[in-house]
């Protein structure tokens, strides 16, 4: 009897089923639409990130050093069209990359377009000594990077001479005497071997392993120059340019590591050390090869008014050194 009554109300089943079906369709479609909308939103956000990155550009413009020749600050320009935030500074020395610090932990490092920011090295960060072979890298929070060499940032790029005279073999204030180039055996401590003499430097044997190099330069500027301990003599194998070997200045003044070069005077410059005033001779560990030679000088000009201005020069030696057995 009850079944019969139930069957009498079957018209209600259709209505309820329809309502449930509607609910089901609405729930499923809403879920799908929300998920699809979120996906589209995510895709758009990612496109925005890429668009912002494409507008971002920064440039390291200058570094400054303190009296101890430690880097005291770094200047970065925003040359892009969007605000940037500097989030990391790295130093690359001899192929080793080191994260120095995150500048945004110490100050607001946001830079507006066309503006620049001076980032001071915090006191709790290990000191960063000036290294002429080091590179500095700055990175933003969007992953844009800039890289430059420390000497370039400190002394500025090497400028071409304003009046180039092809009859004179120099670029810059120091003129190299090309015919005076020699090597001498030393011991591991850089002491010249008393039984040896200065040999022409164009071809050197691979052994013995410790050498001093001597060149002669003439100060043809109008100002006296003092070069410092970072001046180096660099052998660059033509087959493997990244294995550059550097000998550092054996200065005439051993206490300061400096050498004075008077105007219009020719002086010998000797290179012995494996680091600036390291006290250890550089080891010749190159295989048999032919090398290009580069001389780098760092120091100061002595101006007429008694002040000093930074000086740096690179001399690409127009010669090759051959290392033989």
């Amino acid at each position: 009897m009850y079944f019969g009554k139930l069957m009498q109300a079957r018209k209600g089943i259709e209505t309820i089923t329809a309502v449930f079906m509607l609910l089901l369709m609405f729930a499923a479609l809403t879920g799908l639409l929300v998920a699809f909308y979120n996906y589209n939103l995510s895709a758009k956000e990612q496109m925005d990130i890429e668009h912002e990155r494409s507008q971002e550009k920064i440039e390291l413009t200058r570094i400054e050093v303190n009296e101890q020749f430690k880097i005291s600050n770094v200047v970065i320009n925003n040359t892009g069209t969007i605000d940037v935030r500097i989030r990391a500074l790295y130093e690359i020395v001899n192929g080793e990359t080191k994260l120095l610090f995150d500048p945004s932990n110490y100050a607001d490092t946001q830079i507006a377009p066309a503006a620049s920011l001076v980032i001071y090295i915090p006191a709790d960060i290990p000191e960063i000594p000036f290294d002429p072979q080091a590179k500095i890298v700055a990175a933003t929070e969007r992953g844009t990077k800039t890289l430059d060499y420390v000497p370039t940032l400190l002394y500025g790029p090497v400028q071409p001479p304003s009046q180039y005279d092809p009859t004179k073999l120099y670029i810059g204030p120091l003129m190299l005497k090309f015919d005076d180039f020699s090597y001498h055996k030393t011991n591991i401590n850089g002491v010249l071997d008393p039984t040896d003499y200065w040999h022409p430097g164009w071809v050197v044997p691979k052994t013995p392993q410790y050498y001093a190099w001597k060149i002669s330069v003439m100060n043809i500027d109008t100002r006296n120059i003092t070069i410092n301990r970072f001046a180096s003599f660099n052998l660059v194998p033509t087959e493997a340019p990244s294995t550059t070997l550097s000998w550092y200045l054996n200065s005439t003044d051993q206490t300061t590591g400096k050498q004075f070069l008077q105007v219009n005077q020719t002086q010998s410059v000797t290179y012995i050390w494996n680091g600036p005033l390291s006290g250890a001779a550089q080891k010749m560990n190159l295989p048999e090869c032919t090398c290009s030679v580069f001389l780098t000088f760092f120091g100061v000009f002595h101006e007429a008014d008694g002040t000093e201005t930074p000086y740096a020069q690179t001399i690409p030696f127009e010669a090759a050194v051959t290392v033989t057995r």
Binding site: K5, R87, A139
Partner: protein, 161 residues
């Protein structure tokens, strides 16, 4: 008379009872259908949600400290996407395609590198430290370093030793 009253009472109560019972039966029958239908759509939803997460996941390898003759390595990776990321896999190989591809996994047993921190949000840096690479990088070689997150988003970096 009594029987007539009973008959009239039965007729008065049965439509309400019948409707309630039908409602209950239909609801009970609809539950598995609803579960099945929402389950089927939720897979699609999850797929889109994951795609959305991956779309906003983006990392860049900022620097790699890989030096010739040194069998350790440090990789600096920045999260530049909206999604928080964790790094799971690193591949290092010679760029010219020769030699072995060295595969490192943080979730492997034992893990072959460590990350600090484990997960980073947008703009932050994650440092991957390899105490031993299992090989010594050669001099004057170009190596390709690939880093992948747990969702498979990656970046590539080339370093010359």
């Amino acid at each position: 008379m009594v029987s007539a009253l009973k008959a009239s009472n039965d007729k008065a109560l049965s439509p309400i009872f019948a409707t309630l019972i039908i409602l209950a039966v239909v609801t009970v029958l609809f539950i598995p259908v609803f579960i099945w239908a929402t389950g089927a759509t939720s897979q699609t939803q999850e797929s889109w949600q994951t795609s959305g997460l991956i779309a906003t996941e983006r990392i860049v390898i900022e620097e790699v400290n890989l030096k010739a003759g040194t069998a350790s390595c440090t990789i600096y990776v920045r999260n530049i996407g909206k999604t928080a990321v964790s790094v799971d896999n690193v591949f290092i190989s010679l760029s010219d395609g020769t030699g072995t591809m060295h595969v490192y996994s943080k979730s492997g047993s034992p893990p072959t590198f460590t990350t600090s921190p484990n997960s980073v949000i947008q703009g932050d840096l994650i440092t991957l430290t390899f105490t031993t690479l299992g090989f010594t990088p050669a001099t004057n070689e170009a190596y390709t370093v690939k880093v992948f997150t747990t969702r498979g988003v990656g970046d590539t970096y080339q370093v010359v030793t």
